[in-house]
Subunit: 340 residues, 4 copies
């Protein structure tokens, strides 16, 4: 039996490095043994930090050698399908960042490839490993607060997304890149499938993009309805300079559950004017620090024990379908049904 | 000059008594001098508590005598129009509880009657007198956090509403009786007029009403868009047994404003199991205790100083229009424009 | 039966005006009918605001006429004894602000005068009327969290106290003027009597007073032990520019109770740097706004229904004894027993 | 250069396993290669979990072989001195849990042995690696809130301490085993040395120990004064069944800093009765999870880069001196000076 799962990082950007550093410094039964990134200068710097021997600009070359057992795919979303299918066919286990894909058919190809090649496939919805979210789910399942009626989920984050996301019809925009998490965790907590969605959006901050990308938006609110008649709202703002803000509240027949808060750590100061100051969560890297480690440990465990992953391709697909439907609503100005 | 404004309470129910007790025990330049209520036994008990001399089951009789200068109208909504018009024509100043009316045309009649008879008309949107809401508005107007992009408002409360509200097409239901406040305060904070609304609703708690009142709902979420392109959500749950929950958050280009919290007072205990216990706000009577006094002081002041009221009939009308539009969306299953 | 209790305000300073405004504007079964203040110009301005007819610079003159049934004594502490004794002998009910007196013997004179003349005497420990404190006491008495072991009480406030307090051996200083409240509420929650006290103090802010008033301190921490073996700490800072900060925590055999927080209202904003801002309680006038009204209603009720007041002279005396003992400890540098 | 620092765990109890698991599963440039524990059955089970090859009941045997470069000492406090001196003489770097020792002279021996043998010595005051504490220290050092005047530190935890601690004159009891942390972090934040201490204590929960161990206490409050005239309080309760409670507040000339809260994670629920429920921190293992990893990374770094450790033997000694002085105060019933 292997005692360490060897990983190749595909995409050595900021998000990729979160996984890479966890694998290199925090998780002992894993190793990063290769990096694939089209930008060899960036990758080279990362190699130094991570202490990785092998560096590739071409995925095929990396797959041609027996250097790793699994891949972490953290490229732009539009590249997920081809990479994941290719890795699955090379019998590599796949951990793929969210959103799973731009279009539902791509996600279906990925699911099929993993299934046919008997490799594990996990999607990076790390909220499912966060103690407050897990606690909420436990309370819901216990039935002690009755049945879920309404779920509201907020996802806001700092930083302008990369240029390839500006054209929403090709990228799914903010709803895909940021609110995928909300679409997944809301569905996970609701225990049902999305039925219909209405969305309103506006570009209020990145106004310089208006001419070239008329469908770009930086604020969006959605009304959703599940097939089990749970209703809710999902809203997103990006860039939300004030911080990374992921909160969810659940109204049940017997009470309320609240997950998360704007405040980032148990600390405040107060000055002579009586102004209390605290810090908002700065980044998903801080807010979900442990969840990122735990989702990877869970994935490694699925491989070693040959069990299903806890976040499947089917989960990834459902979020893609919801995102696509919400964007369709923005285009049509009407309520849209989610195709199953 | 009068040194006390004499009031007649019209409708001596639970909400009416909040105003009546403030006038009788907490506000010194006002007196309750008459009560009009169709139920003479209830009114008689109230008279005892309030120390009021004159009791009527008929409004005309009360108006026939010179007993009061102003009225507080706290009857079921459908009765507002006729009462307010009649009082205005009798030259009484009118404080009218929310929602102003069921239909916009009723609200217009009320506005016209007050205007023609030169009496003051104020609608009971007491949130506009609550320090956190006022503070939020000050911050918005200061511009220090940039421009408003998104507003989300929650209104939930305990207690099944009265039977006359079950038929939503006649009463406007939960959106009218509870979320009028959210429609008003969101508009007040947004500084614009509602343009379009989409709503989803469900009856999940009062399921025994389903057969007789198929359009009754106890949970609702709305997506709204203003004519200044501010977008947002408004949601309501009633009965929400856990407490009275009124919170608003505002996303701006330069930050976030959060108003209100679920917790009801600065107190908690923690038992041997490590379970921390606090109490949710039990009622609007507690949460907005001072705002109820302050809105009434403001109304009295408007009369004594002959100034415009701070919450006008036009404000009441705008909320009615939004509520009617949201209910229309529920019926049509489509996004609806708000007629101006 | 009187339907309104007529009050004379003795001492029309800032604290006196809190009571006066409550009596004049917020409590309907009371009236302010006279003001006694040595500074006639200040009193004259107050008379205008309060709408009071009679103004005196001399207490005897005021007492000579039948203008009021009760007095609110809000003068410097050293004047309490003579005023209260004189008013009691004139058969006026007495509401006396805290601290009751500088020395225990003065407090005893006041208790005796009220008793002999059969008038009510209440000391202004308004915390006993604050819902969080009342809730805490209910939980303690219910026994659901076991027995009290430790109590910690903080009292900090903005603003330099008046010059007459600088000489601590004559005024009892910060411990008397500010922490009297903590000594009272801790004793009330502990259900026992102070046995011994050790205190440490320092002058760190008002250093300009060091030469003239070497025993002046603006920060103090005390260790206390009750005769029922409850132990605790009391600490004070004044001026504490950041706000008015009154918090208490109680450790029980079966849990913890926490009263109060630094934050002043349910509101926060967050700017682009992720700095969350809230406001500390600015003043005891805001933090205990309702408690000030409720203690006065309770006093009026005691008079009208001829019942004992809820905060007796004995309570006032116990706090004076504790304060005096803590100051004695500061002088001696040793632990001091509280004489009974 | 070594790429991994090899550790021997000395003392495989609950606290030892926190360090051992971090070294085995979370920190990649370290390995646990040996365990020394007098109880071979416990140690054997731990070996299984940690995947450690070598197991000893005798330290000398372990030191006789070249199995490790450093030791983590997590035995009862009274054994620290001999073990640390022996390991230092065997040229092993030493990470020693708090409290450093029972008596100051033991701590001095340990410091000298480390110094003479040129090995690193770090004491396990992990609060110094906790972001809220670090943030507080940064704010203090920045001077933006002025100078520190008062520091209050609370340390409470669940679970009866082991029997060897019952005899306080031999063990230092609760003040040593729990509040050592408070004595260290308060000194670290104050930037001064303890000058004098007064303590009050009581046994209120573990009353069955009263006869056999009359000086045992489970609740203690202390008043402290530093040589730079900062004053403060330190209090402890153990067992405090409700949870692990470590909070500190700092009053400065220009404001307030608050570190920590009772609540354990960003989550709450609220039931139909309006009771909001959250969880207190259950254990130091959760509250300071990352700080335990970070202190160990820092220690490893000190070894690899041959730098001073961030928590020195001198720091450990200062806390022992303060604890001993506080216990002396309990015995004498008087204020005690801290000998330097």
């Amino acid at each position: 039996m292997m005692d360490k799962l060897r990983f190749c990082l595909i995409g050595a950007g900021r998000a990729g490095m979160v996984h890479a550093r966890n694998l290199a410094f925090n998780i002992k039964n894993a190793d990063i043994t290769a990096i694939v990134d089209s930008d060899s200068s960036v990758a080279s710097e990362r190699r130094q930090e991570l202490g990785v021997a092998d560096l590739f600009t071409d995925l095929d070359e990396a797959l041609a050698r027996d250097l790793f057992d699994a891949v972490v795919v953290v490229t732009p979303t539009f590249a997920h399908r081809d990479i994941v299918v290719k890795c699955a066919e090379a019998k590599k286990h796949v951990f793929c960042e969210k959103p799973m894909s731009i279009r539902p058919d791509e996600a279906r190809d990925m699911i099929e490839a993993a299934s046919k090649n008997r490799v594990k496939l996990q999607i990076g919805f790390m909220r499912r490993f966060d103690p407050p979210f897990l606690h909420a789910r436990d309370v819901i399942e216990s039935g002690e607060l009755g049945e879920v009626m309404v779920i509201k989920s907020v996802g806001r984050g700092p930083g302008l997304p990369p240029p390839w996301t500006y054209n929403v019809s090709e990228s799914n925009g903010l709803l895909g890149e940021v609110n995928s998490h909300d679409f997944d965790s809301t569905r996970w907590l609701a225990g049902g499938e999305y039925r219909r969605i209405y969305a309103e959006a506006v570009n209020r901050k990145v106004t310089k993009l208006k001419d070239q990308y008329p469908d770009f938006y930086d604020n969006v609110v959605c009304t959703v309805r599940f097939d089990n008649d749970i209703i809710g709202t999902i809203d997103g703002t990006c860039p939300a300079d004030y911080g990374y803000d992921a909160r969810t509240e659940i109204v049940l027949t017997g009470g309320l559950i609240s997950i998360g808060e704007v405040r980032g750590q148990a600390y405040f100061s107060c000055d002579v004017k009586g102004v209390i100051k605290e810090n908002a969560w700065k980044s998903w890297r801080n807010r979900f620090k442990d969840a990122y480690i735990d989702e990877m440990r869970s994935f490694i465990n699925s491989v070693f024990e040959d069990k299903d992953t806890l976040v499947t391709g089917r989960d990834g697909l459902a979020a893609v379908q919801a995102v696509v439907t919400a964007n369709k609503s923005l285009k049509s100005g009407a309520v849209e049904e989610v195709s199953s």
